[in-house]
Symmetry: C2
Subunit: 411 residues, 2 copies
Amino acid sequence: MIEFIELISSMDARKKFFDVYSPELKTEIIETRNSLGRVTASTILAPHSLPNFPRSTVDGYSLQASDSYGASESLPVYLKMVGEVSMGAEPDFTVKPNQCAMIHTGGMLPKGTNAVVMVENTQKSQQDEIEVMRPVATGENIVEVGEDIKFGEELIPAGKQIRESDIGGLMAMGITTLSVNQIPKVGIISTGDEIISPENELSLGQVRDINSYSLSAIVSRYGGIPQVYGIIPDEEETLHKIAQKALSECEMVLITAGSSVSYRDITSLVINKLGKPGVLVHGVNIRPGKPTILSVCKGKPVIGLPGNPVSALVIAKLFVVPIMERLLGITYKNPTATITAELSVNLSSQSGREDWIPVRIVTNKQSKYKAEPVFGKSNLIFTLVKSDGLVRISPEDTGISAGEHVEVILL
Amino acid sequence: MIEFIELISSMDARKKFFDVYSPELKTEIIETRNSLGRVTASTILAPHSLPNFPRSTVDGYSLQASDSYGASESLPVYLKMVGEVSMGAEPDFTVKPNQCAMIHTGGMLPKGTNAVVMVENTQKSQQDEIEVMRPVATGENIVEVGEDIKFGEELIPAGKQIRESDIGGLMAMGITTLSVNQIPKVGIISTGDEIISPENELSLGQVRDINSYSLSAIVSRYGGIPQVYGIIPDEEETLHKIAQKALSECEMVLITAGSSVSYRDITSLVINKLGKPGVLVHGVNIRPGKPTILSVCKGKPVIGLPGNPVSALVIAKLFVVPIMERLLGITYKNPTATITAELSVNLSSQSGREDWIPVRIVTNKQSKYKAEPVFGKSNLIFTLVKSDGLVRISPEDTGISAGEHVEVILL
């Protein structure tokens, strides 16, 4: 019987782990158009200024700003129109004082002009003449060369997960391929004599494998490739062999135990045999998820997750996801988006222990969010299925009162 | 010159659109293990109770609870141990009064028992005898038949986007295939004489296509398949032909105009020729994104997005994503997770207009989030690239003051 004599906080557990672990990242070149969610391997600088020509932001007339000074509706300025700017081309004419050219949004300013008056503020007086009824300042209604970004400026920092707008920015600069970190493979092993594959009929005493699939999904969602190694009986030799194979083929290995606290703690024994330094953390003061194991073997993370599928998912969010972010090379990280909601009932917790409570989000009559705890034993998968997210009670607190605002991390 | 005489609010625009539009969904059967993010086509009910046997949640001894009543450390109850429950099997023995059986977490309770005493609260007195030092109540430390979910109960509602825990729940019930709504194809057309493909060298007056790629990425991220139809010159006939093709091949079509407000509004002309009812909304009182067109042609949404890449992305979030959710059949929707941050400076806005301001999230010394607006003309893609999210100023407000808390929707 394993006793968790020394339970440490989740923050200390992560620290202990990351003091030892730092991955070597491999990179590859991919097409920018397919880079959503991938992580930049290096800082990308602007290869040229954008725009590379002065561009109109409105439909109107390009002119020398000083020519419009003093213009008003009662006393308009008359300008001769000497041409129309074609879209996508450099104007082949020059605008002289007291002249102007018709221009459309996105058009290039002809030589001799430094502003655009909006068509709404003009009137055609003759075929080739307009009345300007409002003065414009130098630079008005145009985007200057380099105003979006200047040659050599940082476009995207290294270690950033590419978003839609980043793809847009890269394409705007003609950067159609990109050096990104490789996608890590994560090996997943389920253990337990009572676990069977979901395709099979249940006999009494058996339960179907949940963790191989929910952990695969979490690995996929956060940008890794899951590699499932099947269900291994509670047998040290077999588990060791499979774990060795997984460790050689993957960048991280997850082992979920069939029993949350097994009478024989095979997982930690096997992990310690896989390589140095082995188990770093065994037991975290958190509920659900106490029997978590964090270890590094031959430079790779091997994480022992509770067999209980609810704990396994919570622990995956708390420990596996941050390790995956390291494996992905994410160094420029957005804060986690949450939902702020009013807690519907009192929640109590043991001081010193971190609790994660599944909640359902409901919208009340004032369209404010309420968080309603979904109660149930911590090993019931359907408490999570019925929940929208998780609320944390920190180790310093002994609970949260009804009516308090909590942050809900979506599942 | 198009004038937006009648600008409507984004809420009214959505209402006007969804009053007319409702898609017919096609379904398909897929493997549950690959269903992350897919949307259930129908409600799924529990095919059996879970667990289907009474299960221990701890390591200890299975017993008749009444046998332990009155037990204490000074006056323990002695029970004869008649067997050990094997994991994954139905115990082949029965426990009589004043007897017990060794059991492990997840093990099936033998007949004759209705509770489990934790091993920590027992002591071995002889090879086949234990001392129970604490009483247990009926049902203590066990999960009853159907306690996770009961036969016939709703497992997952129709119209829900599958998450990790849902996959876990389905696998636990042996549901290895799933009926889901088909993934919608979204056609994307960029228009504009000045737009060139990102692979090409820029001549003066030209800009590279951004929208085909950033919109493809947003379609992918929200669960659709983007289909890019290339860059079409500002020419009605050509655009009409391509738009017709896209409409016949896709479930939704996005057309981004080269110019945000073109002197000839080709897009709306073409849309009205594609089919009835045609353009429903033209011009929304929002910045950026005023020249947005919402239409339905032959039962399919055709959305005209501003050519300005920043507007196109904002409008895609506000209008295209909700339409995609309808196309995906999402009816059970989580609220959007956000980041609550303190605004760093005053922001002003025109009353009656909805503004979306790009902001960067920074963490201050008290580890609180601050939202710092990233200023720049609304058509500069790098204002978005440098931003973490968007802050909304509602049409009722004329601004937000520095120090107020705002919700930031991540980009």
